[in-house]
């Protein structure tokens, strides 16, 4: 059954440097890394010491407060280094990879017929639990909860992001197996949303409620879809899984191995070989783009709106499927504030003439185009925020730390990525994603 969801408000940024739909096998990295900061609010407890030998799927660390959630090695090799930052916070666990992978055998299992407990146990033991995220709060799901539903978005709207229809086209079988496994985790439904590109690939998947989603970014954000389909109320939990991680879960049941392979799109105006690369999670960026990226180019693991900046020779984020390279913008512009000048810089407001060229593709830099100011302009956030929530009022409630107001205004339904476009469009250059993240963290500590 398919239900159509049409998102009206939003903004699709048209940027130069889309990845060509061609798959390249990336060379095997010498080192791989799992970065604990990728898993928000997880406090890692190391299981292994530096120098230990690991198989792909061997546990490296677990979450201190939800011990069942284990994080495993994506490759086989030697645990080379545990990198720490201030206060001994672990930032990277680096594994020196063997020439070929040997896998820890978790045993095959028919997910469709197996008992729920066995399915859950296998997902957690293999480290696939890390793929399952919880809403509200956007944190790794606690296996002790029972979610009211699981949501998977195979809709791509983020600028230059990997096209999920293309990414999944050869992985339908393991995707289906993954769905069978996820079915055992919830008494509710599994909602799968697709766009024009992923619909032909996933239209025959069983055990899901299919939703066709169209509209501008952030229509592809799973949070926006949840809001349309079955919003999160206070006290409820739903889980979400990235569409490109479902095949990894399925593969676990088909082969018994944890093989976290995925396609990563290399994109952005400064990228040379803009293609899709087949990599193992935690791969080194150098294998995709080399390690000679100059300082005036920013390497972003993820898309330009929500990704993390990484440096040369660094590792891809656990959840990211895009590597974007755009020019740094640390240059001055004389009288840059004059309206109707510098029309080559996109603006959603109409104070630039860029709106006269709706087809033009832009080459944005990382320049802030102004300085942070008090919140003055109203109405601009609502234009790119499709949920039935007042974004500016919610941001203000988060800034004030007013828990009751945050609850009333819908904090449980949003995560930082939903505010990425607000980061982009707002005149006052307010860091909306950061404010929402801090607000969610406050909710976690105060409400739980």
């Amino acid at each position: 059954m398919s239900k159509d969801i049409r998102i009206k408000r939003g903004l699709t940024l048209r940027l130069k440097g889309e990845a060509e739909k061609q798959i390249v096998e990336a060379p095997r990295s010498k080192t791989y890394a799992i970065k604990p900061p990728d898993f928000h609010s997880v406090v890692p407890k190391m299981v292994l010491k530096e120098g230990a030998k690991v198989l792909a799927g061997d546990e490296i660390f677990f979450s201190k407060y939800t011990e069942e959630v284990r994080f495993t090695s994506p490759v086989s090799g030697t645990l080379k280094e545990i990198k720490r930052a201030e206060k001994r916070r672990i930032v990277e666990v680096i594994i020196e990879a063997d020439a070929t992978d040997s896998y820890k055998d978790f045993g095959k299992l028919n997910a469709a017929t197996a008992p729920a407990e066995a399915v859950k146990e296998k997902i957690l033991a293999s480290g696939c639990g890390a793929f399952i995220m919880q809403r509200p709060y956007d944190i790794v799901a606690d296996p002790k909860d029972t979610p009211k539903a699981i949501f998977i978005s195979a809709v791509t709207t983020a600028p230059l992001a990997a096209d999920l229809g293309f990414v999944l086209k050869d992985k339908v079988k393991s995707f289906q197996e993954g769905i069978y496994a996820l079915q055992k985790l919830t008494p509710g439904k599994i909602h799968l949303s697709v766009d024009d590109s992923s619909y032909p690939v996933l239209k025959d998947i069983e055990g899901v409620e299919l939703h066709k989603v169209s509209g501008p970014h952030p229509a592809g954000n799973v949070g926006v879809q949840i809001h349309e389909i079955d919003p999160v109320n206070m006290g409820e939990r739903v889980w979400v899984v990235g569409a490109d991680h479902v095949p990894v879960i399925g593969n676990l049941f088909l082969t018994g191995y944890f093989q976290p392979k995925k396609l990563v799109a290399v994109a952005g105006s400064e990228a040379k070989d803009k293609k899709y690369y087949e990599v193992i999670i935690g791969a080194n960026s150098a294998d995709l783009i080399g390690n000679q990226i100059p300082d005036d180019v920013r390497i972003i693991s993820g898309d330009v709106l929500t990704g993390d900046q990484i440096s040369n020779n660094h590792y891809l984020g656990f959840y990211h499927n895009t590597l974007t390279l755009i020019p740094e913008g640390n240059n001055y512009r004389m009288f840059g504030w004059l309206p109707f000048t510098y029309n080559n810089i996109h603006s959603n407001s109409k104070t630039s003439l860029s709106w006269l060229f709706p087809k033009r593709k832009y080459e944005p830099t990382t320049n802030l185009h102004g300085e942070e100011r008090a919140l003055v302009v109203t109405g601009e956030m609502e234009e790119v925020f499709p949920m039935d929530i007042y974004p500016m009022q919610l941001l203000k409630a988060c800034m004030a730390g007013d828990l009751e107001k945050m609850e009333n205004l819908g904090i449980y339904e949003v995560v930082p990525e939903d505010f990425a476009l607000i980061d982009y469009v707002n005149t006052s250059k307010i860091e909306a994603q950061e404010i929402i993240r801090l607000g969610l963290d406050l909710m976690i500590t105060e409400v739980g």
């Binding site: 929500t306 640390n330 309206p339 630039s352 320049n367």
Partner: protein, 394 residues
């Protein structure tokens, strides 16, 4: 450009972090960012940002004010000169313009100098950057004053509006009342003889007996005949505060504000609609058997183009900080401004400028309007939660 940049960087050195003039940095940064959009890059959040910033937004409003300002300067001179016998055959454009400009430019200078001075001082004192809001406020204040108001009164009004109207509430973005109207209201109540009456609206009308300086609203209130056509009122060839008279120039500004989405079209449209509705109600009194007076019987379309209504609705009601912030709230807010402006104008001819009081009144009530709009969203969410709970317990 490169050369200027280098000189500027050199000049800025002693204001850097940890240097001895550090606390004055906001002042120097304000000048620097006026010349150059800074080289700041994104640190957290989205890596790319929109080309718009607050400076650009504010300058757009200033641009939108220019037609009304130029017309105001010309009209300021014209209203005086065309009553003089020497100009019986017509007033040359430049004569009128210069006559007005010589009065108005000093007012603008005073307004900017004092207002920006206070803003800079507060920025240094509080250690934040100078906000651009005053670029608009500083121009609006002289534009809504009568032409002959002494400069020191402009200055005092500016001081009152910036310190009490804005900074006392926490600065740009926090004020409840529109600062420019706060200045005008201050002058209106502090120096009523300079701000109302029959003689202040035309240059020199107070000192030269032969010059008449009454506004249309004043004439209507006193029952004298109005010698202007609707076209005069629309184009602005009438006495009044400096820039309020020309509806056509104001609409040109409104067009820019709406096209650039800087001003809320919802407020502008609903503001005029509210005024039209109220005026129509009064116009229809005779058909209901109530006689009414000159003010109530003044045609509704004329009500829309005289007085400060158009200027207030377009440039002051749309101030996003003091207006309602929700979409629905903006409709209600704008409508009530127009509605009350005409009501005050007609019921209380002593305060012919209904629009000023109507906007200030609605400024105060804007948060209340927003509260109820947002509350309906909150209620929806709570209702949803309640139904979920019911299903679970059932």
């Amino acid at each position: 450009m490169e050369w200027i940049r280098q000189r500027l960087d050199k000049f800025k050195e002693p204001f850097g972090k940890g240097k001895k003039l550090e606390k004055y940095a906001p002042a120097i940064n304000a000048l620097d960012t006026f010349l150059f959009t800074p080289n700041h890059t994104t640190k957290t959040g989205a890596h790319i940002r929109d080309g718009v910033d607050l400076k650009r937004t504010m300058i757009t409003v200033v641009l939108a004010l220019i037609p009304a300002l130029i017309f105001g300067m010309w009209n300021g001179g014209y209203q005086y000169l065309h009553q003089l016998p020497e100009y019986a055959d017509g007033v040359p454009f430049m004569d009128a313009f210069l006559e007005g400009a010589i009065k108005i430019v000093p007012m603008i200078v005073v307004s900017y100098a004092i207002g920006l001075g206070i803003e800079f001082a507060f920025a240094i004192f509080r250690g934040h950057e100078v906000n651009e809001g005053y670029l608009v406020t500083g121009l609006l204040i002289p534009m809504v004053m009568p032409i002959d108001i002494p400069l020191w009164m402009v200055g005092v009004s500016v001081v009152f509006s910036v310190i009490i109207g804005k900074e006392a509430f926490g600065g740009t973005g926090m004020n409840i009342l529109n600062p420019a109207l706060t200045a005008r209201a201050f002058a209106f109540f502090a120096y009523p003889t300079y701000m109302s009456g029959n003689t202040v609206w035309v240059h020199n009308a107070a000192s030269v007996d032969a010059i008449s300086g009454e506004t249309i609203l004043g004439k209507l209130a006193s029952g004298t005949e109005v010698p202007y056509s609707t076209m005069d009122m629309f184009s602005g060839l009438i006495p009044g505060s400096i820039s309020e008279t020309s509806t056509i120039c104001i609409l040109a500004g409104a067009l820019l504000l709406i096209l650039t989405k800087v001003g809320s079209w919802r407020i502008i449209v609903s503001g005029f609609a509210g005024a039209a509705v109220m005026a129509l109600i009064f116009n229809s009194l005779p058909s209901l058997g109530v006689e009414g007076n000159d003010l109530t019987n003044f045609p509704w379309y004329n009500h829309l183009v005289i007085g400060g209504l158009a200027f207030g609705v377009v440039f002051m009601a749309t101030d996003p900080v003091s207006a309602a912030q929700t979409m629905k709230g903006k409709w209600i807010y704008g409508f009530l401004i127009g509605f009350f402006a005409i009501m005050i104008r007609i019921f209380n001819p002593a305060y012919p400028e209904g629009i000023m009081l109507a906007i200030l009144l609605m400024n105060v009530f804007a948060p209340v309007i927003d509260h109820y709009v947002i509350q309906s969203n909150v209620k929806k969410r709570k209702k949803r939660l309640a139904t979920v709970k019911e299903v679970k317990t059932a």
